[in-house]
Symmetry: C2
Subunit: 466 residues, 2 copies
Amino acid sequence: MRLSPVLAAALAGALAAPNALAAQAAAGDPIRVRYQAVADRIIAEATRDSSAWQRLARMVDTFGHRLSGSTSLEQAIDWVLAEMRRDGLENVRGEPVMVPRWVRGSESAELVSPRPQRLPMLGLGGSVGTPRGGITAEVLVVSSFAELQARAAEARGKIVLFDVPFTGYGQTVQYRAGGPSAAARAGAVACLIRSVAAYSIRSPHTGALRYDSTVQQIPAAALAAEDAMMLRRMQERGDRVVVRLTMEARTLPDAPSRNVVAEIVGSERPGEVVVVGGHIDSWDVGQGAMDDGGGVVAAWEALRVIQRLGLRPRRTVRVAGWTNEENGLRGGNAYRDAHAAELDSHVLAIETDGGVFRPLGYGFTGSDSAMAIVRQVGSLLQSIGADSIARGGGGADIGPLMQRGVPGMGLIVDGARYFWFHHSDGDTVDKLDPREMAQCVATLAVMAYVVADLPGPLPRAAVATR
Amino acid sequence: MRLSPVLAAALAGALAAPNALAAQAAAGDPIRVRYQAVADRIIAEATRDSSAWQRLARMVDTFGHRLSGSTSLEQAIDWVLAEMRRDGLENVRGEPVMVPRWVRGSESAELVSPRPQRLPMLGLGGSVGTPRGGITAEVLVVSSFAELQARAAEARGKIVLFDVPFTGYGQTVQYRAGGPSAAARAGAVACLIRSVAAYSIRSPHTGALRYDSTVQQIPAAALAAEDAMMLRRMQERGDRVVVRLTMEARTLPDAPSRNVVAEIVGSERPGEVVVVGGHIDSWDVGQGAMDDGGGVVAAWEALRVIQRLGLRPRRTVRVAGWTNEENGLRGGNAYRDAHAAELDSHVLAIETDGGVFRPLGYGFTGSDSAMAIVRQVGSLLQSIGADSIARGGGGADIGPLMQRGVPGMGLIVDGARYFWFHHSDGDTVDKLDPREMAQCVATLAVMAYVVADLPGPLPRAAVATR
């Protein structure tokens, strides 16, 4: 067998790592030799049909979107648990989590001047509501926090609209998160943002805001990009722009929810765990198929593939469907707390929360010697092009585990269209391709199975390899 | 000067045509030699700034969409006429047309079973309404007319949903036009279609239906592609799918409207006309910017460019903003009737109704010898890549003229995204690019000016050139 450059480099890294696996690799037993055959079986089984996509479609068609605190989320969780038991997975359980309960209620935005027109909108998650009759006020359109600061004197008593073009989620989402409190600080009575989205067919996109505790909470909503641009043009023409915003949004007392957990118990070290999952909750629009029903079902199906092939790795492989990722991260935190005693035994945490599009590989956060090993495991996925392992990566739900030292890994996919549909009514199962989703299942199953089956755990201590 | 292959071929065509221009061309005075300099001036002037796009934005932001019979259409027409007069165009006038008046009213669709959910929808233009309480019925999803025929026995008393994927407008639009009557013929009580659109963010797209006079008129509406697919999946799983459709749609008595007309009167043969235009009406969604506010404004701006350069061609160049293209074609027919006496003097009719995206050239319907000439004129647009002249082309509004023998021409653009936004709330001015729109203005201005200025008219009699 010829060593690929990737494998050779990984092997070199493993050589420098003072642990059993490295020694084994040095002895001429690299991961690829040992696991390529089983990886190929896993890939073949996972990509044999569209069952993962069909299961996701059934879930989201039946229960729809799944906001924390909603009946649909808890019904979906009940269904997933029952299905997992029927699948014959082990230790299937819902682990209790109290979650925030934000309720949108009825809401609308209307352009009052220069001419009446309904403006499609979505209140931002966590927003307070307006008084019953709504808030009618002149609009000040700004393009940045800097412009708001420069024109702060004009903002008092107005509705501030941040018309910020999408340049990338990380940059642009700052206006959704921090825009409302920035507007409040300038004396605004409400805040609108241009939807944080890469494309639009007059489509509003929601998502969480983050109120600053030092200023008043004002209502906030997202407009479609088209209307944000129109209001800006009107302002530039000297029109007096007036909008009426009406929102019943409110936060109710916390509600009970659950993290979904199921396992294939390890044959030799059942107390050591590779956890793989996504989040079962979603925003209250669309079907929450892409974000992140697909991630939960793909992780679940990854265990099913391992199970169907009659494989049982040395360590336990656990699927987790975390609750409340979108507006609280209570699921990820509760998982950390409920499993505090076994965090040292968590060999690896894998999250998929970028849509189960065509998989490219993983981003990994951990020691250099662990990186060398997961690169070898990644190379098992060359046949489906999912073998790229980049430095850095993880996920919101596994963040609390990673903070406690658990190596973390996030599935990387071709996300070209992710932000077209993200947090909108267009996040529906048809946006995912059955074949690509099956490849994600394969990618998750191979990584989870092999890391769970390696003779030694991934080394946690960082060891410099060069 | 070296003759290009296109020009040489065109010249050969012109040689065979027994008219003055051909003789002139044969005498070594080809169009490119005579007109390239002025064409370049026109192109430079048209693409100097974004004034065309700005004018379109002002129109659609101020008046919004413009359905036949609506106040917004007539206000937009008033504004255009006033602006044209202010521009100093000649013979500015609104030519009276009685148009159908279809009113959408309040409307909704809800999934009742297997679970309650609002379904975004748009009633189809021309549809009748439902009884006040709506129509609640089981849904039969079919994929084609053939499948409906095969399952006709199941359709009685149901709502038939045509879930037909978009393969191309010409093919798929048949279900919007003919689906309702096909469903009625099978005994259905209402008809739904999957929106005729190439992309969707849960976006319904409207458009006209065509009732067959031999069967009952039943209410009809478009669902977003996502929901059509979901209902099909539900049916395939054996779920009983029930929808409640509520529509106030109705047709009121015809209302007065106008074709917008303005001119640059010809210097030598003012009675001979090149007419260039688009349609001023739109569906009652979005801004009707792409379809077809942009076409009207681009044609209007083409005259403005000619005017600003102080050019006055031999013949009259006329801009027309036809009314009621979308649901009646009354504007195009009324223009034909009002100008019946001068149809023989219409040298060329040009329409732009595919969005003013990057121009590629024209499709032309006329005699071979005329084709040879317009290919020469087209070659003047090489510098902006708009020099392709294809056989066949025209437009709905100039169809009545073409039937009477007027040579017809349709602007061809890069329409890759046209059917993403077509007839939807996402047809807004931001979908058009100022630079591309300016290139369309240039393309229209060069063709209209040069054909209007040629020594002889385009030959109408078909003359075979090979």
